[in-house]
Structures are given as C-alpha cells and as structure tokens.
C-alpha cells in the first residue's frame, strides 16, 4: 500500500521520433500495472499536443495548463480512469505549453511532486522530439523507457535522445521497448544492434524491456478509444504489454 510518504517509481516514456506507439503503449502499460493492484498516475507529458485523453476517450475539463497558468491544485485536475489508475491530462493546440520557461517548469515539477507520493508508479508519456519538456521529464524520471520501431529513422532518433540524456544529464538507466516487430528474430536483431552501438559510443548497457508485435488490435483500440488491454486482453500486443509489466514489477 502507498501512503503520502512513498517515493513512487517515475518512468518516462519517450521515443525521439513521433508515431511509434508511445501513447498507446503508455496507456496500456498503466492499465496493466493497475490490474496488478498498483496505484498508477499517467501524466500526459505532451504539453502542447496532448493525446492520452483521446486514446482513453476522455472529455477533459481541466489540464496541466490550469496547473501552470492558474496554479490549480493538481489533485483537482486528476481524472480517475479506474480504481488505481488516474490520469493528469494536458492541453492540445497550446504552443505556450510546449515551451515553458525555466520558472514554469520548476513550478510544474514542484506541483507534480506534491501528488506523486500517493502512487506506486508515475508514467510520463512525453512529447516526440527532443524539446525542453522531453528532456526535463526524462531528467525527472527514475527510469527512462525509450520506445522504437525497426525503422532506421526511429532507431536514429531514439539513439539521439539517449545520447542527449546521457551526455547532458548523466542518465544511464535506459530501457528499450521495440514496437511493431514482425517476429522474435527482428526483436533480437534490433535490440542487439542498438545495444552494441550504445555500448560502443556511449558506454551504456540498456535493458531489454521487451517488444510488442504488430497487431491489428492496436489500431482498432485507438479508433474505439479503448485500451486494447481492456477490449482485447488476449491479443498478442496485450500479452506483450503484460510481459513488460511483469518485468517492471519483478
């Protein structure tokens, strides 16, 4: 059980490249962790172009924007999706939120730290790219999940993100998640290659957090605005998410 004094495990989920399945993965991982009786907070870290509310089909009244601009209490902004799983939504189409000043960043992190103690896990679904908010959310997190696909552009962007976080923020604890893999062979190849390059050039040994196979259920779930772990719990993608969840808990 958690209490106010607990330090939660903060996990950032980033990718560098957009469209690799970051938000879908993070939402379903949050569902999986809550199904395992963990208290989970999912923060939509894409402050200017939020998507978590869309993937979950939420009608958001308040967001992180009000926390920053109106100093609204973050507790009043939380949306409980199911017992043990709450979301802190962000705003969409607000460029000011995508480029917060140092003071606003510090204020936001301070505000978030007031509520994170109530949870076991805090997942941050960051924006794509290597913007300031992506970097400081990754800096804030205890563990950095980097999601990539077997696409060369995705691998390059994931590598660039890791390089920045390692060089500028001295981060070393990266976990790779390979999405859209055809089979186990492809998963192994991509991980082995990324791992070798990270070790050769940056001296980092990433964790193999797992892989998610290509699965039509994922696209359907996004269209129906329901996490695939709930709508199709036995599909291959759902089983992969549960495996990743179990790795986190062990």
């Amino acid at each position: 059980m958690t209490d106010k004094q607990n330090k939660p495990h903060i996990i950032s989920v980033s990718s560098g490249k957009g469209g690799v399945g970051k938000t879908s993965f993070t939402v379903n991982l949050a569902v999986a962790l809550s199904q395992k009786k963990q208290k989970v907070l999912l923060i939509d870290g894409d402050l200017g172009l939020a998507n978590v509310d869309i993937v979950l089909g939420l009608n958001v009244k308040h967001s992180l924007r009000e926390i920053v601009e109106e100093e609204r209490d973050p507790m009043d902004t939380l949306v409980e999706i199911m017992p043990g799983f709450s979301v802190l939504p962000a705003s969409s189409g607000v460029p000011e939120m995508a480029s917060l000043s140092y003071e606003e960043q510090a204020f936001l992190i301070d505000s978030l730290e007031h509520i994170t103690g109530k949870f076991d896990y805090v997942l941050v679904d960051t924006a794509a790219g290597i913007g300031e908010s992506v970097l400081w959310f990754n800096d804030w997190a205890d563990t950095n999940f980097v999601i990539l696909t077997p696409d060369p552009t995705s691998m390059t962007d994931a590598y660039a993100l890791i390089k920045i976080m390692h060089t500028r923020y001295e981060k070393n604890n990266f976990s790779l998640i390979i999405n859209h893999v055809k089979n186990k062979k492809e998963e192994n190849e991509v991980f082995a290659n990324m791992s070798a390059v990270l070790e050769k050039f940056l001296g980092i040994k990433p964790n193999n957090q797992g892989a998610i196979p290509r699965d039509g259920a994922v696209a359907n779930a996004v269209r129906t605005q329901t996490p695939f772990l709930i709508s199709q719990p036995k599909t291959r993608a759902s089983l992969a998410i549960m495996e990743i969840c179990n790795k986190i808990l062990t």
Binding site: E103, A106, I109, P152, Y159, A160, K163, T167, N193, F201
Partner: protein, 240 residues
C-alpha cells in the same frame, strides 16, 4: 507589501525564492540582513513615492537591534561581507539551482587601486547599480569584488558584465565569470575556483573578461556519421 523576519537557516531558501519571484513584478525589495546573512525583506510597489518608502523604512527599522549590525530597512549596507559569507550564500544558491532549474552566475571583478577606502566606496556604489534585487555584492579579496547573480544565464551575465565594464571604463578592470546550470551543478569550492581561474586567465591574456559555462554546446550531442553506420549495420547484412 510583504515582510519576513525569522532568523532561521531553514528560511534562507524561502527568502531566495521570494526574492527571485519578486524580480518578475513591479516591486522594490529592501533587505534586512545581519552578518551578511539575509533575515527578511520588505517588498513595496514600485509606484510608492520615495517619501512614502522612506517613512515606511523608518517605521519598520529594527530599533531593538540598533547598533548591533542590523540595517534599517531601505538603508544600503556600507560594509561588505567577505569570501566566507559568499561561500555560505553560494551553498544556498547552488542548492536552489538544482531545485529551481534556474542558473546562477558568479562574476569576479578585479579593479586597480581598490585598497584606498574612497575608491572602494565609489566603485562599490557603481557596482551596486548593476546588481539585480536578488543578487549579492561582496568583497572577494583586497582588490576584487564578487557579484553573485542568481537566475542569470551566461547571456544575461555577460550583458551585466559589459554594463559593469562600461561604467568603470576609466579604471583598469579584469573580470572572471562562471555560470552554474541545473545540468551541471558544482560544489561551492569548485565553482569559486572556476571563477578565479577565469579571472586569472583574463589577467594573463590581458582581456577584460573571460568566462566559462558548464553548459555543453548544442552540437556536442549530434549523432555522427560513424554512429549512423553502426546503427544501420544490421539492416545492410548481405547487401553490397
């Protein structure tokens, strides 16, 4: 109007943050300090008349502590704190850099013939004009002032240093500047030594200002061609 007065080490962070915040509003800050350490401050709207400010300052002066080192509010300090006080302040500021993600600069200004008291007072007053409300002016050694500048990044610090240089252009002046960012926080002694080294470099190279900033250049993280080749190597297995 806001006033704080607790002599409590735990309040230092609070005072510093309030001072930084006040910089964003049209208010004038009056500090109350003892032995170089901040005890409280008063913030008055900038629109207050000078007479009104003087009245409030007089009314709120610490009569009980008169003659024991406390300055009446609004009265500028005459004596400057020393290097030890600077280091105490730096400890607080560098802690805040990590917490607030705001940078902090230290500018050392070495001026010729500073030992003569009259010169010292004159230069001190000139330097005071450039310091933001949350900054500190201390005497680093016989010939050198230290300007502790919380919240100032390298660009703003260099602008301030340039303004200092212009206002003291009739004197021989050497400056050493270093900036601490949240990405690379320093220990107090290391940070001071970095500023000293920059000052020594300015003297050795006959420059008016030398600076260092721990913030890495933007290109230092660029993915190189060699890294790309390795990243894609497994895709090209079997290809010519």
């Amino acid at each position: 109007m806001l006033a704080g007065s607790k002599k409590n080490k735990g309040c230092e962070d609070f005072f510093r943050m309030m001072e930084s915040e006040a910089g964003n509003f049209p208010v004038d800050i009056f500090k109350v300090s003892e032995n170089g350490s901040l005890q409280g401050f008063l913030a008055l709207e900038s629109s207050f008349s000078k007479i009104k400010k003087a009245e409030i300052s007089r009314a709120l002066s610490f009569a009980a502590n008169e003659g024991k080192g406390n300055q009446p509010l609004g009265t500028p300090q005459i004596a400057l704190a020393d290097q030890d006080t600077l280091k105490t302040r730096l400890r607080t500021e560098l802690r805040l850099v990590k917490k607030s993600k705001l940078p902090c600069s230290l500018l050392l200004v070495k001026i010729d013939n500073l030992k003569q008291t009259e010169h010292l007072k004159m230069v001190m007053n000139q330097l005071r004009e450039h310091i933001p409300c949350n900054g500190h002016l201390d005497l680093f050694d016989d010939e050198t002032f230290s300007l502790l500048l919380p919240g100032l990044n390298i660009k703003r610090s260099l602008r301030l240093a340039e303004a200092v240089r212009r206002s003291l252009s009739h004197r021989q002046i050497r400056m050493g500047l270093t900036v601490c960012t949240c990405r690379d926080t320093q220990k107090v002694d290391t940070f001071v030594r970095m500023a000293e080294e920059e000052l020594k470099r300015a003297e050795a190279e006959q420059m008016e200002i030398c600076h260092s900033c721990a913030e890495p250049g933007h290109d230092s993280c660029q993915v190189t061609a060699e890294e790309r080749v390795h990243l894609f190597s497994f895709l090209n297995v079997g290809k010519k």
